[in-house]
């Protein structure tokens, strides 16, 4: 048994690693720049000083650990330099990658990029006055285009535009850097070495990479900080988990309390009118989409036009003040959580009762039940003492699988009722590219699922002595 558990835990490790790689890969391929997002949300624009704002960007990037290469190695081609990740801005980097793909000559591409940068610095040194304000804005706009575009037509028209504005406002100080840029662009185009693109090469970066940093910190218990509000991921998740756990524990308790007797009874009286009615009702409940039920419940009972018995959403935090004692707080919470709880409970109620009924029917057809009846035991003892033990087996497996579900299964309802639980937090994190939270939650639910399955198997063996792992 111990050996079996050890073996299973050893198998966890590669599975978890692959899952971590998958989530990581997914988030790396997400469009958008988290650094830019954080800077624009954190501070008002410091756009006046190009050098300072660039430095702020670099600092932030370093702070988030995004200045490191993505992975231990990179599979690319001969044209791509090893240190491409050192180009700070993601947009620029992506544009440079396209240039590499088009022309394949990194030296020329880089000098073109540097010349555009020099031009930007030169532009930022010009003092703005009434005579050149419009021209400066136009130059800056087109300069921005140079950074992020790669097709010839757009670049040519942008350069023409800059040239025109230099002449109009006689911006002599940037003429030289601009001519440099034009020359560098021509050089890049004429000295193309596209063949370098078709020779594969592998760059090795070692352990100084984003993935390694993240995964080692993760196993040390440091989950990073949320991009959105700079709080530690740990607290964000803990705050959310409290709600989800509370909801799922309460609903699980009520579900089992109702569904086990219901399943046992209708299984024992298979074919009776009670059985037929409950089976039909439960089946219909099982197929009812919970987001529809939630919408209707809010409409009818939650402050809509019909009966305003319950609040439509939220968890009642505003309705609670410090003077309340714990029972009053619980009362308010229950008042707010009643509708969500109903929506949480009814699908699993239907599911577990059906499982319980099936298992009961299965068990009651076994020989040992017939023996028990032949012994003259009364029906109640047969049912609640002999049959229920074996029919609980599948329910135990379910119990273990419900835990990980508790983390993710509530997405729908948490969004509709706007409960600040895990589901809502993760979905918001996915939308706002708040990777640290997404990573952590996915990893945790994976761990919980794996552990849940293991626990189910072990419980299975404990309840049913016929199952043994040592032979496997």
């Amino acid at each position: 048994m111990f050996k079996y558990i050890l073996k299973r835990i050893l198998i966890f490790i590669p599975t978890l690693l692959v899952i971590s790689l998958l989530t990581f890969l997914l988030s790396v391929s997400v469009p958008g720049d988290p650094v830019e997002q954080m800077l624009s949300s954190a501070s008002e624009n410091g756009g006046k000083n190009v050098l300072a704002s660039e430095q702020a960007y670099i600092d932030k990037r370093k702070n988030l650990g995004l200045d490191l290469p993505v992975f231990y190695f990179s599979l690319s081609n001969k044209a791509t330099p090893k240190n491409l990740h050192e180009i700070p801005k993601k947009l620029h980097r992506e544009n440079l990658e396209v240039f590499i793909n088009k022309y394949g000559n990194w030296n020329e591409i880089n000098s073109y990029y540097q010349s555009v940068k020099q031009l930007e610095i030169a532009v930022s040194h010009i003092d703005k006055d009434s005579s050149n304000a419009d021209a400066l804005i136009a130059v800056k706009d087109n300069l921005y285009k140079l950074y992020i575009n790669h097709d010839d037509a757009t670049l040519t028209s942008a350069k023409k535009n800059i040239q025109k504005n230099i002449q109009i406002a006689s911006l002599q100080s940037i003429n030289a850097p601009f001519q440099n840029t034009v020359a560098a662009y021509t050089a890049m185009k004429t000295k193309a070495t596209i063949w370098k693109n078709s020779i594969p090469s592998i760059h090795w970066y070692g352990s100084q990479n984003q993935y390694h940093q993240w995964i080692t910190k993760f196993f040390k218990g440091d989950f990073g900080i949320s991009y959105q509000d700079q709080r530690p991921v740990k607290t964000v998740i803990w705050d959310a988990l409290r709600w989800t756990l509370m909801l799922s524990l309460i609903s699980m308790f009520i579900t089992y309390l109702i569904s086990i007797p219901l399943g046992v009874y209708s299984g024992a009286h298979k074919g009776s009118r009670f059985d037929k009615t409950t089976t039909t009702i439960l089946f219909l409940l099982y197929s009812l989409p919970s987001f529809w039920v939630a919408t209707l419940l809010i409409m009818f009972l939650g402050g809509g036009d019909f009966l305003g018995w319950f609040p439509a959403y939220g968890v009642g935090t505003d309705a609670i003040d410090d003077s309340m004692n714990i029972f009053q707080v619980a009362g308010v919470r229950m008042y707010y959580l009643f509708l969500p709880l109903v929506c949480f409970i009814y699908p699993s109620l239907a599911f577990i009762s059906r499982q319980m009924r099936g298992a009961m029917i299965n068990t009651l057809s076994q020989d040992y039940i017939r023996t028990a009846r032949a012994k003259g035991l009364d029906e109640k003892t047969v049912l609640w003492k002999h049959a229920i033990k074996n029919s609980l087996l599948p329910i135990i497996t379910l119990f273990a699988s419900i835990f990980p579900l508790a983390i993710s299964g509530a997405v729908t309802l948490e969004i509709i009722f706007s409960i600040p639980g895990m589901g809502k937090t993760v979905v918001e994190a996915i939308f706002s590219r708040n990777y640290p939270i997404v990573y952590t939650v996915v990893m945790f639910s994976a761990i919980l699922t794996l552990v849940g399955n293991l626990v189910a198997d072990i419980l299975y063996a404990l309840v049913d002595p016929r199952i043994s792992f040592s032979k496997k």
């Binding site: 899952i19 396209v98 088009k102 594969p200 089946f283 409409m299 036009d305 299964g409 996915i430």
Partner: protein, 431 residues
């Protein structure tokens, strides 16, 4: 050992037995009829609800606008100048036969905008123009949207489950039939395959990523063509390096055969997919990619094969030890032929169950995604989106009830069919 003909007869007998059992189940049979009905609606949605007339005579010419629409879509017909900018609803036709519901899901009825109730007074010319299930906020007909939504829901269910079934059957069959040690290849081939994988990935995908993304941004079709080309290059390079492995076999050390633990690989893959919450995975992919109905189908399909594959695996573990497989092996049939012609067909029946339940859950996931406004492009109106429309402020009962009912009905009938199949295929019920 049975001859192929006998085998065939037996198979037919089995399926007709399953059919009989299924027909005995009244609920499942009834659900099957409802599915047929829904499929009918989906197929003929354009004829059932359309602002364009089925037939019309306009300025002396006769047209069949609904059908011409198909021609225009395929690119071999054009709208005549008369009809190009016509207001289909108010034009003066000489003679006209309209669809039963004279509205398209995109038709805006300015006189009945802002959630007109199906029960109250409506500002329409006659009962012919009535919005039987009301309208939503900008005056689109709910019934027309529901009819066209059927098409999307069923397509999502079917396509995504087809993807899932293909992946599931393939992986499950490999794992179940070959197990951990029934496929053996030489060390030379393993080495060459690994090296080949690197080059195949590089020339197939890495070096072509720019070309591919460029093509995808032009059009889906072009992107798909480029993607297929990439797969072709990938397989060609991989196959080529596998063939090169034969030369390496002259070295004795490399000639030794090693077993490929297919079962372990597939089992771990299944575990990985089961450990990541499916909805999160779908949400994450849908949130980063461009919205599109095919994307939603593909994502649902690629994340729901695990059930099917474990069904097939379990079934093949049983089947592969049956006599007829041994007989086929004794006859010297190749193992791939045995797998695809004998083993898989005999293991398919439980897959049907998984597919029926899978369609139900795919439709549910799609409606949830559109309910929270993800994945499906803005111009496509689905059941989930209609349902979401009811959530803004004032309660619009009909906007919530009818699409919800449609989802509920469809999900229920597929679940009932799944139940019916479970019972029909259960050998314990044989009498």
């Amino acid at each position: 050992m049975s001859t192929p003909i006998e085998n065939n007869e037996k198979e037919q007998a089995y399926w007709s037995y399953v059919k009989r059992q299924f027909k005995k189940n009244k609920r499942a049979l009834f659900s099957f009829y409802i599915v047929c009905f829904l499929a009918f609606i989906a197929l003929f949605a354009d004829v059932l609800a359309n602002e364009k007339p089925l037939y019309c005579s306009y300025k002396g010419n006769t047209y069949f606008p609904v059908f011409r629409d198909y021609g225009v879509m395929m690119g071999f017909a054009k709208w005549p100048p008369d009809l190009r900018n016509i207001d289909w609803l108010n034009a003066k036709f000489d003679a006209v036969v309209r669809a039963p519901i004279p509205y398209s899901p995109t038709t805006l009825d300015p006189f009945n905008s802002g959630f007109v109730s199906p029960f109250g007074k409506q500002d329409v010319a006659s009962t012919r123009w009535r919005h039987w299930l009301g309208t939503e906020n900008i005056g689109r007909d709910i019934l027309a949207s529901l009819i066209h939504g059927t098409r999307i829901a069923l397509t999502v269910g079917l396509v995504s489950m087809s993807i899932a079934t293909i992946i599931g059957i393939l992986l499950g069959a490999l794992a179940g039939f070959f197990g951990d040690n029934r496929i053996k290849i030489s060390r030379a081939s393993v080495i060459m395959l690994l090296i080949g994988l690197f080059f195949a990935y590089f020339y197939g995908f890495s070096a072509r990523s720019f070309t591919m993304s460029e093509a995808f941004s032009v059009s889906l079709l072009k992107g798909f063509l480029q993607f297929s080309l990439s797969i072709l290059i990938f397989s060609a390079v991989l196959g080529g390096s596998y063939l090169l492995g034969f030369i390496l076999k002259i070295i004795p050390f490399l000639k030794i055969k090693v077993a490929i633990p297919l079962d372990i690989i597939v089992q771990r893959l299944t575990e990985i997919f089961l450990s990541i919450p499916r909805l999160f995975l779908i949400l994450a992919i849908v949130a980063i990619a461009k919205p599109g109905i095919f994307l939603v189908m593909a994502v649902i399909g690629f994340t729901s094969w695990t059930g099917i594959s474990s069904f097939i695996r379990a079934e093949l573990l049983k089947v592969r030890n049956l006599e007829f497989i041994e007989a086929a092996e004794a006859l010297g049939y190749s193992r791939w032929r045995i797998l695809f012609k004998h083993a898989i067909p005999n293991a398919l029946s439980p897959v049907l169950i998984a597919v029926a339940f899978g369609i139900a859950s795919a439709i549910l996931v799609e409606s949830f995604l559109s309910f929270i406004g993800l994945g499906i492009p803005a111009e496509v109106l689905t059941w989930g989106k209609l349902l979401a429309l009811s959530r803004g402020g004032k309660s619009q009962l009909w906007v919530a009830i009818f699409p919800g009912l449609a989802i509920f009905l469809t999900v229920t009938v597929f679940n009932l069919i799944g139940e019916g199949l479970t019972d029909a295929l259960d050998p314990r019920q044989k009498k």
